[in-house]
């Protein structure tokens, strides 16, 4: 007798709904075992991870701040992935957006530039991110180059370009040679929503992006086209949807959103341009996009949830001395279970009895 996976005749709607819940349940169970092995009280640990951060206004703000870039990038990526265009380089588009926007901030530093500075930074960042994302998209459409590889490689180009700027031409003259620009002027800074807090306007922009994506995918022909091209390329061709055009479009939109997220992060929580402005947001957002099942609302929830694990992980480290690595293990286990449970949407377990068959005798 053995256990086998058998393809279902059609997608299981029930499983599609409950699979994230099963995944969270399995993750929780695994973490309880892990905490017990570590000699930590599992209930207190889970409380520190999931409940404590939700119970005070400060942590809620921090969750929103952390989720903002993740959600914005992931929304863009989901459009790409729905259209079967594999943008892996959001990290690079994020950095280029940050660089382009910072250019205005650096050039206007100390001048009497008015309120136009921040809006101009946001627009320029989005445009730059879009243009940067178009490089792999055009290479794909014109030359058939794998967009997975080209977009990924451009991440390192962007990273080194930023590095060059803050070590060279844009370096803070008062910064003792440390690789950073000077602090941005107030007109070049994303305004805070709550005085004394850290929640900033970027979170509102992220919500608008989620809403716009939901409308695009749910209510417009263009959104329908994106989904059809991804799900059934042949049908899409018969339907008159041009796959190449959509690759260009989705890449541009996703690059623009990543670039926008980049400048918001730099002009918001960080306050100046420096290397290491992204702790891997562009890559974590890929996880967020899939956890959210490429659905705008799902991505919002997934982004907040992942941010919760970051903040909760930190609080667990402080309150219970649980090592940081456990938080990383936790995120890995979660993704693993989500993907594993998802396979049950298309497959089901089946017991196979090898009757009337000569047993394969290698034991």
């Amino acid at each position: 007798m053995q256990l086998a996976l058998e393809k279902r005749a059609e997608r299981s709607g029930t499983i599609a709904l409950v699979s994230p819940l099963i995944a969270v349940g399995l993750t929780t169970a695994t973490m309880i075992i892990l905490f017990t092995i570590l000699g930590k009280n599992p209930l207190l640990a889970l409380h520190a991870y999931f409940i404590a951060p939700l119970t005070d206004g400060y942590s809620l703000q921090e969750i929103a701040v952390k989720a903002t870039p993740l959600v914005m990038i992931a929304i863009g990526l989901s459009l790409c992935y729905l259209a079967n265009a594999w943008n892996i380089g959001a990290e690079g588009q994020f950095l280029i957006g940050a660089v382009a926007g910072s250019w205005i901030a650096v050039k206007t530093q100390g001048t009497d530039a008015g309120a136009w500075v921040l809006p101009a930074m946001l627009v320029l960042a989005a445009v730059a991110g879009a243009l940067y994302a178009l490089i792999p998209a055009i290479c794909k459409v014109k030359f058939g180059a794998s967009e997975i590889l080209t977009s990924l490689m451009l991440v390192y180009v962007a990273d080194l370009f930023l590095d060059y700027l803050v070590r060279g031409p844009w370096r803070d003259p008062q910064g003792f040679n440390f690789p950073t620009t000077a602090e941005f002027d107030p007109v070049a800074t994303v305004p805070l929503l709550i005085e004394g807090g850290r929640l900033h306007l970027g979170s509102v922009i992220a919500l608008l992006v989620v809403a716009a994506a939901a409308i695009l995918l749910g209510r417009t022909i263009r959104g329908f086209g994106i989904r059809v091209v991804g799900a059934a390329p042949r049908a899409a061709r018969f339907g008159g949807f041009k796959a190449n055009q959509l690759i260009i479009l989705t890449f541009a939109v996703s690059g623009a959103l990543a670039g926008l997220a980049g400048i918001i992060e730099v002009a918001g929580p960080v306050g100046h341009l420096q290397p290491g402005i992204s702790p891997g947001y562009g890559f974590t957002a890929i996880m967020v996009a899939f956890l959210g099942r490429l659905n705008p609302l799902g991505i919002l929830v997934a982004g907040l949830f992942l941010a919760l694990t970051f903040i909760g992980g930190e609080q667990a480290q402080i309150a219970m001395k649980i090592p940081l690595d456990v938080t990383k293990v936790f995120q890995g286990i979660l993704l693993f279970y989500v993907l594993a449970c998802d396979s049950l949407i298309l497959y089901r377990f089946k017991l196979v009895f090898p009757s009337r068959q000569v047993a394969r005798g290698d034991g």
């Binding site: 060279g168 930190e314 480290q317």
Partner: protein, 358 residues
């Protein structure tokens, strides 16, 4: 079942709160580390300092640390998390935490902060660092004696004054032994990246360097030097086990005494914002045993160490000639003053390289 589980949870949480309440009598001290505590270098030494603190004052204090906190957008939140968890004195142990620490310090005037190696202060934010250039000077003497090729390899992290003054001190010392000494410098642009550090060490050895010195935090360079049969200096911590036949000495960061002193001040209510910049005389750092060198070189190193400790020898003794051939202003009488060293942004004559960004 469900009910009993809930009751159990509530009970456990209550128990957690009770223990938190009893811990509240103890002064809470927080630490932010840039690397993992197992980096065997910079962060490892800070954590040894924390452990020394616990050993000394463990009945009066409770310590908490956050490791691997990147010097980016997350730093401010991590520091604030420590504040919100009730820590009253917080040590932020890397240069890149300067602005985030200052931001949080301004927000919580009743909490005290200690930032390592920075230059911005506040009524509730001190800075502390060590005069490592003194140790670099001793290393420069040893290196020039031990090098057969006359080429030293130097792995830099970032071209900030702390690192630049270390390079200059090394070269000035080496020139007193061998006026034609050459130093090859590679900027790793990181504090901790064993792979990059190892690559840099390989490249330096390939360029003829036979003594490797580093201002990065991992033992990777020591391991490469050991494999290639060259000599090297450790950094931050004792690295002799990575190169028993390789390590000449190492600059050991000894934060424990400082941490104990500051926490005692906090406990006594006498903590003030200060700028502490301690040298060999104040035990902010120490030299590891001098090994793998002949006795006369060892003697020379020990004599230099004694002279520096006693204040008889200053590594930046005037006259100092800059790379441009011009004499550097001598603001400290017969040596450069602290401000000139803390803001050092030039190479001394004899370094055949260009300071990045100059």
């Amino acid at each position: 079942m469900r009910k009993s589980l809930l009751a159990l949870t509530a009970g456990l949480l209550l128990a957690g709160n009770v223990s938190a309440a009893s811990a509240a009598d103890k002064l809470k001290i927080g630490f932010i580390y840039v690397g993992p505590i197992g980096d065997l270098g910079w962060t490892y030494q800070h954590d040894l300092g924390r452990q020394a603190l616990v050993k000394e004052l463990g009945d009066k204090i409770e310590t908490t640390y956050l490791e691997n906190v990147p010097e980016g957008p997350d730093a401010e939140r991590s520091i604030e998390q420590l504040v919100r968890a009730g820590n009253k004195l917080i040590f932020t142990t890397s240069f890149g935490y300067m602005d985030p620490t200052l931001k949080v310090a301004k927000k919580y005037p009743n909490v005290h902060f200690e930032h390592a190696t920075g230059y911005k202060r506040n009524p509730n934010m001190s800075t502390y660092s060590a005069k490592w250039y003194q140790g670099r000077y001793i290393q420069g003497l040893i290196a020039a004696k031990m090098s057969k090729s006359g080429v030293l390899g130097y792995i830099g992290s970032f071209p900030i004054p702390e690192v630049v003054s270390g390079i200059n001190a090394t070269v000035l010392a080496a020139q007193t032994i061998n006026p034609n000494i050459k130093v090859k410098i590679i900027w790793a642009n990181t504090w901790f990246d064993p792979g990059k550090e190892a690559d840099a060490a390989k490249a330096l050895i390939d360029q003829g360097a036979d003594v490797i010195m580093q201002h990065t935090d991992s033992p990777a360079a020591m391991q490469i030097a050991s494999e290639r049969g060259k000599l090297a200096f450790g950094q931050d911590s004792e690295m002799i086990k990575f190169g028993p036949k390789t390590q000449l000495t190492s600059i050991l960061d000894t934060w424990g005494p400082y941490y104990i002193e500051r926490v005692k001040a906090e406990l006594a209510g006498t903590w003030k914002s200060e700028n502490t910049w301690g040298g060999l005389d104040s035990h902010m750092f120490a030299m590891a045993p001098y090994t793998n060198m002949p006795d006369d070189v060892k003697k020379m190193a020990e004599d230099a160490q004694d002279a520096i400790t006693a204040g008889k020898l200053h590594p930046f003794k005037c006259p100092i000639i800059g790379q441009d051939g011009k004499q550097v202003d001598c603001k400290g009488g017969d040596h450069l003053d602290d401000g000139q060293i803390l803001g050092m942004n030039f190479y001394v004559k004899g370094i055949d390289d260009k300071l990045p960004g100059k």
